[in-house]
């Protein structure tokens, strides 16, 4: 697993095998999937999530199979199961031939973490593992040498619906549209010259330490990575980007009045991710051992968050300005969002790195609104207490984005005067 992970070190982007990849937690994964379904409805939303999972899993599986010398269908299906678990997505057993087949999953990341986070509060009526379905379909295509985008998969039972496990039916489906790939070569064409920001002497060593720490991490006996109070996945950046940007495009066509709300929720998925995952890392004994105890001052939190973002493969986030209590400006030569957008769609009409925006907003909130010395539990109740009701004390804007053709991406977070503390 660790030999498949590579960084583009000057840009802090990550590849897993041939595929652009990032680490993301279950808070982000669940909230983003939910937002896609809210935007498009469950049928269209889950179909888009399946298509994106299948599209981006296929080159990963083909590349890793070739690299590892797996040639027979059995070898390749076995390899797919190992990769899936190693990436923290749970255990899946695949059985398929050209006429179709089935897959059985246990502890699948989406369904299992949904049941852990929401299962006591909400009764779910639809399955949660469209990414798993896409991965299973891609595994069958690659293992059997089938045409890309030719295998369909449907989740018929899901732990999020209180089934004992997850079950998928695979069968040849209507051929999907083949979209231009967004792999390493395409990403390479979209990156701008890199640069450093303030406090690099602090940020870069922490980034390296975190990369070394995460290098051997892979799924446990359940196929899950549980760390820092969250379930973590090594995930395909293309999956996140395709579902986010296609959802925005579809809503722009069908319900343009709702685009702003969708963008708010896409930002929120970044916000909830950073709050929980970055916050969990900052509060961990591993962090204290590597960096030292938290002082309670805002600057070390911001520095730490830049390092965490880089180590997770989000891009070279740099501090351009930081005035505690007033203003944070983060710049990057590109992000995992912008390189995808430029490659697949061309220039964006407006800055649209939603994850970067929500993440920087959360970093400002973490730096100023959390009493780190008290080592708070990052619970849903704590999150609600900080962020429920408004207006919030910080606001975010993105004046520049490499997705738009600017030479840098820039996000500005400022104090919202007159808002609650």
């Amino acid at each position: 697993m660790s030999s498949l992970r590579r960084y583009l070190p000057e840009h802090d982007l990550m590849y897993f095998g041939p595929s652009p990849a990032v680490y993301h937690c279950h808070h982000f994964n669940l909230f983003l999937d939910q937002t896609i379904d809210d935007a498009l409805g469950f049928e269209a939303g889950s179909r888009l999530r399946f298509l994106a999972g299948r599209e981006f899993a296929a080159p990963l599986l083909a590349g890793v199979a070739e690299q590892s010398g797996a040639t027979t269908p059995a070898e390749r299906l076995e390899l797919a199961s190992k990769l899936f678990a190693g990436m923290g997505h749970g255990r899946i057993q695949l059985s398929a031939d050209a006429r179709g087949g089935d897959a059985k999953g246990s502890f699948l990341h989406y369904g299992y973490s949904w049941s852990q986070k929401y299962g006591q509060i909400v009764k779910r009526k639809q399955p949660a593992d469209a990414f798993g379905a896409g991965f299973a379909a891609a595994a069958a295509e690659v293992a059997l040498g089938l045409q890309p985008e030719s295998m369909a998969a449907h989740e018929t039972e899901c732990v999020a619906m209180k089934a004992p496990g997850c079950t998928f039916q695979l069968k040849p489906g209507e051929r999907g549209v083949r979209l231009p790939p967004v792999g390493e070569a395409e990403v390479g064409k979209q990156i701008n010259p890199t640069f450093n920001g303030l406090y690099e002497e602090v940020i870069q060593p922490i980034t390296k330490g975190l990369r070394d720490f995460t290098a051997p991490v892979q799924g446990d006996e359940r196929g899950l990575v549980q760390a820092f109070g969250v379930f973590v996945t090594l995930h395909l950046a293309g999956y996140y980007n395709r579902i986010s940007y296609e959802a925005v495009q579809q809503v722009e066509k069908k319900a343009p009045q709702s685009v702003g709300v969708l963008e708010d929720l896409l930002r929120e998925s970044g916000h909830v991710c950073v709050f929980n995952t970055f916050g969990g890392i900052l509060l961990s004994p591993e962090w204290e051992g590597m960096v030292g105890p938290l002082t309670g001052e805002p600057l070390p939190i911001v520095e730490g968050c830049m390092a965490i973002a880089r180590a997770l493969g989000f891009g070279r986030w740099t501090i351009a300005e930081f005035e505690p209590g007033k203003r944070l400006v983060v710049r990057a030569p590109c992000s995992y969002e912008s390189v995808f957008y430029r490659s697949r769609y061309g220039k964006a009409p407006r800055p649209n790195e939603y994850f970067l925006q929500g993440a920087c907003l959360a970093i400002a909130q973490l730096a100023h609104r959390v009493d780190w010395k008290a080592k708070p539990m990052l619970t849903q109740e704590f999150y609600n207490a900080l962020f429920r009701g408004g207006p919030l004390p910080w606001k975010v804007e993105q004046p520049k984005s490499t997705a738009c053709g600017h030479t840098i991406s820039e996000v500005v977070v400022t104090r919202n005067e007159g808002a609650r503390a």
């Binding site: 937002t35 509060i121 702003g260 709300v261 929120e268 009701g389």
Partner: protein, 192 residues
């Protein structure tokens, strides 16, 4: 004034930790008394007891066992609670220390209910718009309450600003709101 009345009604009840009076049918906190050493926030708890009694009533009706005299007893790890509907206007919740014998709790509860029945006024049924009740219900039970209204806006196409004034929603918008809230909460219908 009401605060004094509730306090007076319970001031000689030993081992009582709190009393919450919830106005029905809207499940809003009407009055409360909480022992000073407790850290409970009455506003956070009271509405849930109203919903509890309403759900209990519907369940008993489904079993054809409903009667106005029902009360709910909750025995949790560290508290013993009696929840009872009073005249249809109120739900009264009494929270006792866990180690008090149940028979004693019932005796105290009966006496307190009789006193409160004398003290509490008859409420005029307040006809609040259904959309207001739906929105309150959503914000109370949604898994991500800070984002709940955004989710409804995205699902329904109703602008966020319009949803923030639920009393002004049109009939078709109320239907859309209710359907989306049912979906978000995984419910077949809302018994409001």
């Amino acid at each position: 004034m009401a605060q004094e009345s509730v306090r007076e009604a319970v001031n000689d009840v030993p081992s009582l930790r709190a009393v919450f009076v919830t106005a029905m049918p809207d499940c809003l906190l009407y009055d409360s008394w909480v022992r000073p050493e407790e850290t409970w926030a009455a506003e956070d708890a009271a509405s849930y007891f109203g919903d509890l009694v309403r759900a209990n009533r519907e369940g008993l009706r489904a079993l054809k066992s409903w009667s106005a005299e029902m009360q709910v007893t909750i025995e949790s790890a560290d508290v013993l609670m009696i929840v009872r509907e009073l005249r249809g206007d109120f739900v009264v919740t009494l929270a006792f220390q866990r180690d008090v014998p149940l028979g004693m709790v019932r005796l105290h509860a009966k006496r307190v209910m009789e006193r409160l029945d004398q003290i509490l006024p008859t409420l005029e049924a307040q006809q609040r718009p259904r959309a207001v009740k739906i929105t309150e219900f959503l914000e109370k039970y949604a898994p991500d309450p800070h984002a709940a209204l955004h989710r409804v806006a995205l699902r329904t196409g109703i602008p966020l600003g319009t949803l923030r004034k639920p009393e002004q929603l049109e009939t078709t918008q109320v239907a859309l709101l209710e359907a989306s809230v049912c979906d978000i909460l995984g419910l077949e219908s809302l018994s409001l």
